[in-house]
């Protein structure tokens, strides 16, 4: 598994656990707002959990226009 795939998988596991969605229902190219059914405040919550999990800072302006897990993983990779 490549590093990007591993990061994507970790995000999917994190999101599934926190938002109580079966992991097998989540795909890397899914729109996380739609798939998880989350609003902007819950997106901030996810961002905080991602920062804590990966021990990074991810400025929220870098997430503008990002709505799928794979692109989110790429943004995280650039901060690792």
């Amino acid at each position: 598994m490549s590093t990007l795939e591993k990061t994507t998988d970790e995000i999917l596991q994190l999101a599934a656990a926190h938002f109580k969605v079966p992991r097998e229902n989540l795909r890397a190219d899914d729109d996380f707002f739609k798939t998880l059914g989350i609003n902007s405040l819950q997106a901030l919550d996810l961002l905080t959990r991602i920062e804590q999990h990966f021990h990074i800072e991810l400025p929220d302006y870098e997430l503008q226009g990002v709505s799928d897990f794979r692109t989110l993983a790429e943004r995280i990779q650039s901060r690792l």
Partner: protein, 267 residues
């Protein structure tokens, strides 16, 4: 000091600790109703004297401590007014909220903001008036005002400059990004980080410790270590009012109010 329950907040006093609880849907946006009750609160606090030795400010809303000024009310009221009237209304609101913030900032008792979730704009400014911020590990802090064509107007910049270093002040203000509790603690903004859902419990334990000390000594120590930056606060009101009539502000407010964006809280 009598206990109080209003439309936007409540307070109660027990064992020397005053607990002020914000509770206005959706996330304690500060508009005219909250301001009027905050004014009642600071009057009651001043009259309480030595009965009140510690103050905890927290939120009953699950979304967070406070999402800032009530931009919908600001926009709607502005639309109904002529330009000169609009500016006078904003100035009056700012001067009133500054009196409240300055009263909390300089109160002789020890003040704690117990925060969680969203602490944005005016909510961040309210937290900054307190002597200590105790943050839930999921808390996020931001000053998103520049995207509205404004600067923070409730005393945020002078207090931020007073409390922390330039790198973070400029990053927060000039990018409008949010930072988490761990970053805020490393920057010197947050005194203690609590587990999820535990900020108020930690604040109560801290207040119990504070209540052990002589209140006159505590007040003297506070006066020595914390001054209110009055000149800069007055200047902030002037800059805010200068900016307020710029077309970008009305456009920014309209965009926020009418937004169906998935991320309206993000810069």
């Amino acid at each position: 000091m009598k206990n109080f329950t209003g439309k936007a907040l409540s307070w109660r006093i027990a064992g020397g600790t005053v607990e002020l609880m914000l509770d206005r849907a959706p996330c304690n946006e500060i508009g005219s109703a909250t301001l009027a009750e905050l004014e009642q609160f600071v009057d009651a606090l001043a009259a309480a004297g030595e009965d009140a030795r510690a103050l905890i400010i927290s939120s009953a809303r699950s979304e967070g401590f406070c999402a800032g000024a009530d931009l919908r009310e600001l926009f709607e009221r502005s639309q109904a007014m002529a330009q000169r009237e609009r500016l006078a209304g904003v100035r009056d609101f700012l001067e009133r909220i500054h009196r409240v913030m300055n009263a909390i900032d300089s109160a002789p008792l020890t003040t704690i903001a117990a925060v969680h979730g969203v602490i944005f704009g005016g909510g961040f400014e309210l937290a900054l008036t307190c002597d200590m911020i105790i943050a839930d590990k999921m808390a996020r802090f931001a000053f998103p005002e520049l995207r509205l064509g404004l600067i923070p107007g409730f005393g945020g910049i002078p207090r931020l400059k007073r409390d922390i270093g330039n790198a973070v002040v400029r990053d927060l203000l000039l990018t409008g990004r949010s930072i988490n509790a761990a970053k805020a603690q490393s920057a010197g903004l947050v005194s203690q980080v609590a587990a999820e859902g535990d900020a108020l419990r930690v604040a109560r334990a801290t207040a119990a410790q504070i209540n052990k000390f002589d209140s006159k000594t505590t007040a003297a120590a506070k006066r020595f270590i914390k001054s209110v930056p009055h000149d800069e606060l007055k200047r902030e009101i002037e800059i805010f009012c200068d900016l307020f009539l710029q077309p970008a502000v009305e456009a920014g407010l309209r965009k926020f109010v009418e937004s169906t964006d998935a991320l309206p809280y993000l810069p």
